[in-house]
Assembly symmetry: C2
Homo-oligomer: 283 residues x 2
């Protein structure tokens, strides 16, 4: 088995090589003067099982994955497994309005064209795995995030940002051995919305909010503010996929967030949790 | 029949609507805060033949095409024709070295997934049409470029930048009614290369060099310099696809180029020739 890391996932690929005791494939990924991508695989991978790791975000990295897949296929690989740490376009998982594409399905179909198996991490909705036309699997980063929180942070309770995400908070709380709850929105009048934990009291507690994706951080920032208002001692936010679009970090910090934690499915200054151990079990 | 213009090709789509007397589909193409693309088709196109126009350059515009194709398919179109004025990655049309992908083939296969017919303009090599797994056709912009040159420029001869491109120069010269030739490279010693027209004398002549693509403009700039050195009165350069990467325009101008002409397969300040009339014949 050989592992190739696309330019979004070089570190994850290296971690995975260590986990699985296999070799990293040498390759070139550079841009022509007109900004088109040039890909070249430098090792002999013919008749091998090749694992390509690439987060499909932003758009240019999707194109890189397609070219990597083609190069690996052309080089005579026996089997191609594509690992997508963060699967871009996953949130457009249905037609919300007439005339829209199901973008997650588009990407899944295109990626399936030159692969034999797909692995992704914490997809926003589990059913998007069915969009692939090849066997597709997902793993959860929650255990690794929980282990990180457990080791260093003295967490009293884990909160889900909404009821739909409760299962994730419950899973983390079991590992940490603490309480769990979800943030409930209550509409007070036409415009004001109150957000607070459904059952638990956060006064003087160390609280972790756990979610799959943080994008603009808007909702998360509101939750942090409310928790602080209700007397929470420390509020940590943890997510699998830290997109941190636009002013997200600034918003979280000025809301009073004490620590931001993410995995390295998308690399950032907050990638404190390694994703490779979760992925390795599925390869 | 309905026509949809992707964001690279809105003007071409409008021109095509006029040529063919059909309607342009209203659509939304915008970016989410995390820079992912949102597409929505606003008109009812179910059971219709829908023509999508999109240049697949740069990378982000390829993704836009994929999402447009999916949206059109999901909206129940009877037939999808994809028109690609400039087909990105067309120059990686073979494995130049082991371990490379045939990127043109990758793109062709992916585009074929949600389309019934493809039309492109002056592909760098005609055989890339075979990479599509659906019927694929190409048209030439040379007649339209020649008509433009003929009307206003008083051209004495058309030159191909190399022997391989001679056919294009010949075709243009027939329409203009002038001489044609190609630029021949002669290696003088180990390092110096001399470029000049194989047979014709350019002294006091108005010369047009015609090529399919201008990317960085390096070779073209050398040719212009040589022609000027040999006494050419005016040197015009004309191409189908004006990529004009990096400092291309500056290079061409400082080499002494008197006019730069391109079609609108890629929009720029030099898109003086409309491509829609060439395309319309194939739809």
């Amino acid at each position: 088995m050989y592992i190739i890391g696309g330019t979004t996932s070089e570190k994850v690929a290296k971690d995975l090589c260590k986990e699985l005791q296999v070799s990293l494939v040498k390759m070139i990924s550079k841009r022509f003067p007109d900004d088109e991508l040039y890909i070249r695989i430098l090792d002999d991978i013919s008749k091998e099982h090749v694992v390509i790791i690439q987060t499909t975000y932003p758009d240019q990295k999707i194109i890189e994955l397609f070219l990597l897949q083609e190069a690996v296929r052309e080089a005579g690989a026996k089997k191609i497994t594509v690992v997508i740490p963060y699967f871009g376009y996953a949130r457009q998982d249905k037609k919300f309005k007439d005339g829209e594409p199901v973008s997650a399905k588009t990407m899944a179909k295109l990626i399936s064209l030159n692969a034999d198996k797909v692995i992704t991490v914490d997809p926003h909705k589990e059913y998007i795995l069915d969009f692939f036309t090849i066997p597709a699997f997902s793993c959860s980063a929650v255990p690794e995030i929980a282990k990180y929180l457990n080791k260093k942070k003295n967490i009293d309770m884990v909160l889900a940002p909404d009821k739909g995400a409760l299962e994730r908070a419950k899973q983390a709380s079991t590992i940490i051995g603490c309480d769990f709850d979800y943030m409930e929105k209550t509409r007070i009048d036409g415009t004001t919305v109150k957000i607070k934990p459904k059952n638990l009291n956060v006064r003087n507690k160390n609280v972790a909010i756990i979610d799959d994706i943080i994008s603009t951080g808007g909702t998360m920032a509101k939750s942090i503010k409310e928790l602080k208002k209700h007397g929470a001692k420390r509020v940590l936010v943890a997510c699998t996929h830290g997109l941190f679009a636009g002013e997200a970090i600034k918003k979280l910090k000025s809301a009073g967030c004490d620590e931001i934690i993410s995995t390295d499915t998308i690399r950032s200054d907050f990638s404190k949790v390694k994703i490779a151990p979760c992925i390795s079990k599925l390869i």
